[in-house]
């Protein structure tokens, strides 16, 4: 669904070396300028994530550690992440925008493929249990998963893919105010979707006493919808970031990769949900 003029005018992935030049093909006299800038953020972020994972682990294992520890772990993730992002924003003016856009787009696309493979492992789990393991599916005692409400959520989420696409188009045509409105609509739809899922969860828990400990069926239901919900949350953060960057004029018609990345991500979240809805509620 990616129709923005920049990417369609870009060479195809296999155009390879004949296409836009990598950095360093620009006329420079001093070759040392081609060496990449050092940065401490990657190391700090990695250790922040390690600390965060450790604290999560302690929490989940029921150890009692000071809340301060969790807080500092979170800070150790956030500060390097922000620092890294600002560095990139600063450095982008030294790079050929067409080239930078192209590698980022490809990299992000491949990353989403791997995300798809993670979801794939959950789908495979579900399909296998359903057709090759369980005697009956849903198993005896499992609650009826009412698809009606979820169907509304599905429609809203699918619609939000369109609103975002219109936002992207409007922005590239220079209609910033319109773009912002479409973006707000997208965010609102995403939030409504999350509310609907939350309501569904709450209902299942309160009325059907259905939890993730309710056997493999419950584990799958809550992990798959939950993991997807997490992606919606990240997507919403992503969209808010785009909004912020529009508001503060950090993106324009040349530098707007975040707009494209958010589009890829949001469509991805949408496609995964449609499959999830089909597999979990309808099959």
């Amino acid at each position: 669904m990616n129709m923005d003029p920049i990417s369609t005018s870009l060479p195809t992935p296999h155009g390879g070396a004949a296409a836009a030049a990598p950095p360093g093909h620009a006329a420079h006299s001093d070759p040392s300028a081609h060496a990449p800038q050092p940065s401490g953020w990657p190391l700090l972020l990695a250790f922040g994530i390690g600390l965060f994972a450790t604290s999560f682990f302690l929490l989940a294992s029921g150890y009692h550690v000071m809340p301060l520890f969790y807080l500092s772990a979170l800070i150790c993730v956030l500060i390097p992440a922000l620092g890294w992002a600002t560095t990139i924003a600063r450095e982008r003016h030294h790079q050929d925008p067409v080239y930078t856009y192209r590698i980022l787009r490809r990299g992000f696309f491949y990353f989403l493929l791997s995300e798809g493979a993670i979801f794939g492992s959950f789908f495979a789990h579900n399909i296998y249990l359903r057709y090759a393991h369980a005697k009956t599916w849903p198993p005896v005692g499992a609650p009826y998963l009412d698809p009606h409400l979820a169907a509304i959520g599905t429609l809203l989420l699918v619609f939000s893919s369109f609103t975002y696409h219109w936002c992207h188009q409007a922005f590239l045509k220079g209609k910033k105010a319109l773009a912002k409105n479409w973006l707000l609509a997208t965010i609102a739809l995403g939030i409504i979707f999350l509310c609907i899922q939350g309501y569904d969860w709450g209902k299942l828990k309160a009325f059907d006493k259905f939890t993730y400990q309710h056997g493999a069926f419950g584990s799958e239901f809550y992990w798959m919808t939950g993991f997807h919900g997490l992606h919606v949350c990240v997507g919403l953060l992503f969209l808010s970031l785009v909004y912020y960057r529009m508001e503060t004029n950090q993106i324009d018609q040349t530098y707007n990769f975040s707009l494209t990345a958010a589009e890829y991500y949001w469509h991805f979240v949408d496609i995964v949900w449609v499959l999830l809805f089909f597999v979990i509620y309808l099959l």
Partner: protein
């Protein structure tokens, strides 16, 4: 409007740090590559030590040297460390160092992400080692960690959970690395260099990166499920809760088989450089080699259940997976013939790198053949979970991946460091490894036929003589490792210097960009933008 019109301000010269800070903040693909290699080097000693402990316990059928509990820990951590913290990072490191130079690029596409990928290896590595000090000790369910053995009931304690968490974190690093390689190779090739001009080591990295990108996330998902079963009481793989342990095996090996190719394809690539270089010939059958690599990559996703022939899968599935596994032998054979043909009729220099490469061919053929035998269902049912499988996997992983890695290090060390390794010590290293390897692992085929089960701390007394023989052979490998370590550490400081861009004279016959730039390369790799003029014959 076109974005290409936008003016690009020239980049300032990079900030310079020195000493430790330089290594901690580096985004230079070559330094990151060296960091990966050092990481692998350190962990190889830990993993080797664990193997030594395993062999000591197996000195006698019912040894009291260590408890069976500790034996299981050692066995699990030996495999985990060697696979995830030695062979994988070592090849990622080599790829990091060499791929950008071989394609004429200044660096990887995302230098900071590259550094992140390396540093992301450290916390999980620490977790792995720290898990020894938890109440019940480290993970001990094997590197495959099948539930219900790895479930909360039979593996209580934090060790197994830390293990799963560490695998997830290392998975993040692998995926980021794979993305970086794929983008770099697709978008940063020197002008004039098409896909079919890529050196075969680069091609092997393309296929490896695809395998990483699509297989590693699956094991991440599976580890999330396993962890959740252990920590939150979910039922993904718990039989009592409607889950299915057999499904774990399917999902794990869906990752696990591509994983073994992740560990061998880079070595295949290395072979296609080292063998022609020291035979003073060109690669034989380049196109066929690319096709073979790609078809191994694709087929690699369709053979996973050959690890599960005895687990109760249907006969139809057995036939399918047996057939696909046998098919993989075809492209593998193509590769072996190509290396032999690349050497055929050449004037061969028996340098240490070439010796390791020839050793690779000899040992990998044996490992490949035992693989083909295992792919035959009735045969596999007879020897599954016996030492025959241990022999097979070590012939391909040690005889293959590690010998290939060594060939690579002896081949590219002068380029990376500007110093030469001692050839005399290198020869000692090779012969100790080669003879020690055959000494240790060849008899395991025999033990397997005789029915000695793997993964168990006890065995029947009649196996004792061979086991002692094997354990003694470990000393040869240990000696080889010590000599190698000494050689590297000594040569780094005192080795003979070289600044010859092409000390082996590779480019007299071939066309490989890493031998055209300075030795060792400058941080910016090339003073002049390399143009690639393909020499078509």
């Amino acid at each position: 409007m076109s974005t290409a019109d936008a003016a690009v301000a020239p980049a300032p010269a990079p900030q310079a740090y020195s000493g430790l800070m330089d290594w901690l903040t580096t985004t230079d693909h070559k330094k990151i590559g060296l960091l990966y290699l050092m990481f692998a080097f350190v962990n190889a000693w830990a993993g080797g030590l664990f193997a030594g402990v395993v062999r000591l316990r197996l000195w006698s059928p019912n040894s009291s040297f260590i408890s069976p509990h500790l034996y299981n820990e050692m066995l699990t951590m030996h495999a985990t460390v060697m696979i995830f913290m030695v062979i994988m990072p070592a090849f990622v490191g080599l790829g990091n160092y060499l791929v950008p130079i071989m394609i004429g690029a200044r660096d990887m596409a995302f230098p900071k992400l590259n550094a992140f990928g390396f540093w992301m290896m450290i916390p999980p590595a620490l977790m792995m080692y720290a898990s020894f000090f938890t109440v019940h000790g480290s993970a001990r369910g094997g590197w495959w960690s099948y539930p219900p053995l790895s479930g909360p009931q039979f593996s209580p304690g934090a060790g197994e959970s830390l293990w799963a968490l560490a695998i997830i974190l290392m998975g993040i690093a692998s995926i980021m690395g794979a993305v970086n390689f794929l983008v770099t190779i697709a978008d940063m090739r020197a002008p004039g260099m098409g896909w079919m001009d890529l050196p075969l080591f680069v091609w092997s990295n393309v296929i490896t990166a695809w395998l990483l990108l699509l297989a590693v996330p699956v094991v991440s998902g599976v580890m999330v499920m396993l962890l959740s079963d252990r920590m939150f009481g979910t039922g993904f793989f718990q039989p009592g809760l409607g889950g299915d342990p057999l499904l774990y095996e399917h999902l794990f090996w869906f990752f696990g088989h591509p994983e073994v190719y992740i560990m061998i394809l880079p070595a295949f690539g290395i072979m296609s450089h080292v063998v022609p270089a020291f035979s003073h010939k060109k690669v034989f059958g380049y196109k066929g080699m690319v096709i073979a690599l790609a078809s191994i990559g694709v087929l690699g996703f369709m053979v996973w259940a050959h690890h599960m022939f005895t687990s109760g899968i249907s006969p139809q599935a057995q036939i399918f997976f047996s057939t696909t596994s046998l098919l993989i032998g075809v492209p593998t054979g193509v590769k072996i013939y190509s290396w032999l043909a690349s050497a055929w009729g050449g004037t061969i220099d028996f340098t240490p790198a070439m010796k390791f490469a020839l050793g690779f061919i000899a040992l990998f053929i044996i490992g490949g053949l035992s693989g083909v035998m295992l792919a035959v269902v009735p045969f596999d049912i007879a020897v599954h979970d016996s030492y025959f499988v241990v022999a097979h996997l070590h012939f391909v992983l040690f005889g293959g991946s590690v010998m290939g890695l060594m060939a690579a290090i002896y081949y590219w060390f002068p380029k990376m460091t500007g110093r030469l390794l001692s050839e005399k010590l290198a020869n000692w290293h090779f012969w100790l490894f080669f003879i020690g390897f055959i000494w240790v692992f060849m008899p395991m085929h025999w033990l397997g036929f005789e029915g000695m089960p793997r993964r168990v701390a006890f065995y029947r007394p009649q196996f004792a003589p061979l086991n002692r023989f094997i354990s003694a052979g470990f000393l040869l490998l240990l000696a080889g490792g010590i000599i190698f370590t000494y050689n590297v550490l000594h040569s780094l400081r005192k080795g003979e210097r070289t600044s010859d861009p092409d000390p082996w004279g590779v480019n007299d016959v071939q066309q490989s960009l890493e031998w055209t730039t300075a030795t060792p390369p400058k941080p910016w790799n090339f003073d002049e933008e390399p143009e690639f003029v393909p020499a078509h014959d």
